[in-house]
């Protein structure tokens, strides 16, 4: 088994969860990712949650990385980061533009040391425009994207979904690989950029694109679940035991003969006997009929018959479902880990299958500074005395 990104040196100058995930994705596929953990920096976790015994989010975001703890406020500390960047293939960061300038970690400064460097930067709102300096918070980007008002049912508060940042993380990693391809062919490095706003917008793909093309109030206000465009697609109905089921059968003619009998309807019921009627004149009536039909039986019944008839429909579960689903473990989407101090723990695994160079857990998330010596000695060639002196001076930890 080989590594997809064998031999690639990545300097991880990120501080946010999503930015760190982008670097971890490169580490998952074998890149040598050195994370710069700033000494004396405040903990990255939000202050509104009681600190958990085990930082699960950090375990995911910092896995497959080495940690070099550096005081970036000191000149010797910054010199170490620069020396590392001069040897790196990729620098990846989500720090604010102004801070990177002040620290001398901006593209122009680092590309001066390593002309073919790939410098990947995630920000809140992109490198251009009046709001480029706004903080990189997923909440702000989600608020700007236009989806929050239309996610809930009519009259309910806007909903913050929280997943937009995850698109951004993968887009940043994708951009790095595209830039690497260009470098292999031409020897040229370059800047890669994306943002939380870009990620949230991309996640809103179809609603956004449909609004841009069609427009109108229906995209600006929530639509009641019983006013869907197609009673059999994108809809949800409550079952007898209070669990919800959801249907996605957009081309209803294909599914109707198998579906109708399950909900106690005759296939030739004159109200619903064509796609045009189901999605047109009888649309609202059909949703009322389905609403009553699904309430007559429990979710487990619906799952069984959906599966039997191979319908595109399922029960809406909570996280307990994937956490217990053998399919998930078979594909390593969630993995069981043996943690040296905590014993067995569970973590998200790897969303991608590769037959020859799969993702692997090379190492658990490091303690801050766990690999400072190793990085300085093995990658930068510092002597033991030099390293001791830097440590004594407080430049590294």
């Amino acid at each position: 088994m080989t590594k997809s990104l064998d031999g690639l040196l990545v300097v991880d100058l990120t501080v946010e969860f999503w930015g760190s995930i982008a670097a971890a994705l490169l580490g998952d596929f074998g890149a040598n990712v050195v994370r710069i953990d700033a000494l004396g920096a405040p903990a990255a976790e939000p202050d509104d949650e009681p600190a958990p015994a085990w930082n699960a989010r950090a375990e995911l975001a910092q896995r497959n990385k080495a940690s070099l703890a550096v005081d970036v406020m000191s000149e010797p500390g910054r010199a170490i980061v620069r020396a590392l960047a001069a040897k790196a293939d990729v620098v990846l960061t989500d720090r604010p533009f102004a801070q990177l300038q002040t620290l001398g970690f901006d593209y122009d400064s680092l590309a001066g040391l390593k002309p073919d460097l790939i410098y990947a930067q995630g920000s809140g709102f992109g490198p251009e425009g009046p709001d480029r300096a706004l903080p990189a918070l997923d909440e702000l980007a989600a608020a700007r994207t236009g989806m929050m008002p239309i996610l809930p049912q009519p009259g309910r508060p806007p909903v913050y979904p929280g997943h937009g940042q995850m698109y951004t993380a993968v887009m940043l990693a994708f951009g790095v690989l595209a830039a690497l391809r260009h470098r292999r062919r031409t020897g040229e490095g370059q800047q890669v950029d994306t943002s939380l706003l870009a990620g949230n917008m991309y996640g809103a793909s179809l609603d956004l694109q449909a609004f841009l093309a069609i427009g109108g109030e229906r995209f600006l206000h929530p639509i009641s679940r019983l006013d869907a465009g197609n009673p059999m697609s994108g809809t949800m109905y409550m079952s007898e035991d209070g669990l919800w089921v959801t249907l996605t059968m957009p081309d209803t003619d294909r599914w109707w003969p198998a579906f109708a009998p399950l909900v106690d309807l005759a296939v030739d019921d004159p109200r619903f006997d064509s796609h045009e009627k189901r999605c047109g004149e009888s649309r609202l009536e059909m949703m009322r009929v389905l609403e009553a039909a699904f309430r007559r039986r429990p979710a487990a019944h619906w799952r069984t018959v959906f599966l039997e008839k191979q319908l595109s429909a399922d029960v809406i579960e909570d996280y307990a479902f994937p956490a217990a689903d053998p399919q998930v473990y078979r594909n390593r989407y969630i993995v069981d880990l043996e943690h040296p101090s905590l014993g067995g723990v569970r973590s998200l695994g790897f969303p991608i299958f590769m037959s020859e160079s799969p993702a692997r857990l090379f190492r658990l998330a490091p303690c801050r500074g766990q690999h400072s010596f190793e990085v300085l000695h093995d990658i930068l060639g510092y002597g033991e005395d030099e390293i001791t002196a830097l440590r004594d001076a407080g430049a590294i930890g």
């Binding site: 031999g7 996610l151 996640g203 996280y319």
Partner: protein, 403 residues
């Protein structure tokens, strides 16, 4: 200008959204993407006529945007002659991408084993519903798989229906993951000369999409992460959505004493600055529901613009909660090419489309054309890329391999 993926040829045998959007990312950066479609009706995405009970209008934005920058080849893979064309195409391509079912691919003899024998350097990519391994066998669409992940159940106020993240939200992520995986495999091929098989499933991608809360759930098993939480009972009442007189805002203030002092300063005379229930971070957390109720009342007193003005002055981070119309008019998205205007052949006018979410400074992506007409490039690809003579092409037509 050079493109990052110049010289990469992709056979894009996909339908609907997740597969096509994966290839769109590659096409945006210059890969030659050939969308292979059924001769009669093509990719099912071409058939989308309405969205949210509204007619799509005179241009089918569902299909045309995610198939931009691509060629289209119409091929009947049910015929042996059609499959022979596919083999020759695969022999001369770098990537084969499909989101058809495994049964379909097997029936048409387009399995990994078959195609890798034709081209050992091939990257063979699938976007399945539930993963490369395992026994789960059922249809998979974005929302039915999102339903299984648990993402939907945790959103919204308690006792409200679950919430879908938006049309194509999961497909978009699966597609992006597939594009990333394809570049990983191409990178690996440079070093080793070997192709491989990759898969980015809808289920796997959407579980990763849930990371911000699913990872915490896996560690704790706490329903705080898996069930609906009311905005009236947040962990930090200063970091929450609030109604103002005219619209909702998202207030993002850390629950520190300094954050609290600043917020109170912005609230004027009504501020509960000395209320002992809110005098420390811990008390504000304990009395969150009372504080949310109070802030609801105070903030309803002014328009969002007035609050935003005061908050900006005090360095308080917040944002009005925009709708899609405001996004479409947002200067920031135009400055960064997140939305773009392009010419649409179908309607002979300029249209607005989703732009480039990732940008590269030397080899920026671009939108050169919207989605192709069904089969528009079939003959040219046969003649120029695959080296068929015009006589052979006529013969292929007679056999029904191409229209």
């Amino acid at each position: 200008m050079a493109n990052a993926l110049d010289g990469i040829r992709v056979v894009d045998l996909t339908v609907w959204f997740q597969g096509p959007v994966a290839a769109q990312h590659l096409a945006d950066f210059g890969a030659e993407v050939i969308h292979v479609e059924r001769p009669k009706s093509g990719d099912q995405g071409r058939g989308v006529r309405s969205i949210k009970a509204l007619p799509v209008g005179d241009w089918n934005q569902y299909f045309l945007v995610i198939n931009r920058n691509k060629k289209s080849m119409a091929l009947d893979l049910k015929t042996q002659a059609g499959r022979d064309i596919m083999y020759r195409l695969v022999e001369r391509s770098d990537v084969f991408l499909s989101n058809l079912t495994a049964d379909n691919l097997e029936g048409w003899q387009l399995t990994y084993e078959k195609l890798a024998a034709v081209n050992p350097r091939l990257v063979y990519a699938t976007t399945t519903g539930y993963g490369h391994y395992g026994t789960t066998q059922k249809p998979s669409f974005d929302m039915t798989v999102q339903a299984l992940t648990g993402l939907m159940s945790r959103l919204g106020e308690p006792d409200e229906p679950p919430i879908y993240l938006g049309m194509g939200s999961g497909d978009a992520y699966g597609g992006l993951m597939a594009a990333f995986a394809i570049l990983l495999a191409l990178h690996h091929r440079e070093a080793t000369g070997k192709g491989q098989m990759i898969d980015a499933s809808l289920y796997g991608a959407q579980l990763f999409l849930a990371a911000p809360t699913l990872q915490a759930y896996l560690a704790t098993g706490s329903t705080r992460y898996s069930r609906q939480q009311s905005r009236t009972a947040p962990l930090n009442p200063l970091w929450n959505t609030y109604p103002t007189r005219d619209r909702w805002v998202f207030l993002c203030v850390p629950n520190t004493d300094e954050g609290w002092r600043r917020l109170c300063r912005s609230l004027g005379a009504a501020a509960p600055a000395t209320d002992p229930r809110f005098e420390s971070a811990q008390k504000r957390r304990e009395n969150a529901t009372a504080l949310v109720a109070l802030l609801d009342e105070i903030l309803r007193d002014q328009d969002a613009a007035e609050w935003m003005r005061r908050w900006r002055e005090l360095g308080i981070v917040a944002s009005p909660i925009a709708n899609l119309a405001e996004l479409a008019a947002d200067e920031q998205v135009w400055a960064n090419d997140y939305l773009m205007k392009t010419h649409c052949e179908e309607v002979q006018r300029e249209v607005t489309i989703r732009g480039l979410p990732v940008r590269l400074s030397r080899t920026p992506g671009s939108v050169r054309s919207l989605g192709p007409e069904l089969g528009q490039d079939t003959e040219l690809i046969l003649a120029e890329t695959l080296g068929y003579s015009w006589d052979e092409i006529a013969e292929l037509k007679a056999k029904g391999a191409i229209p």
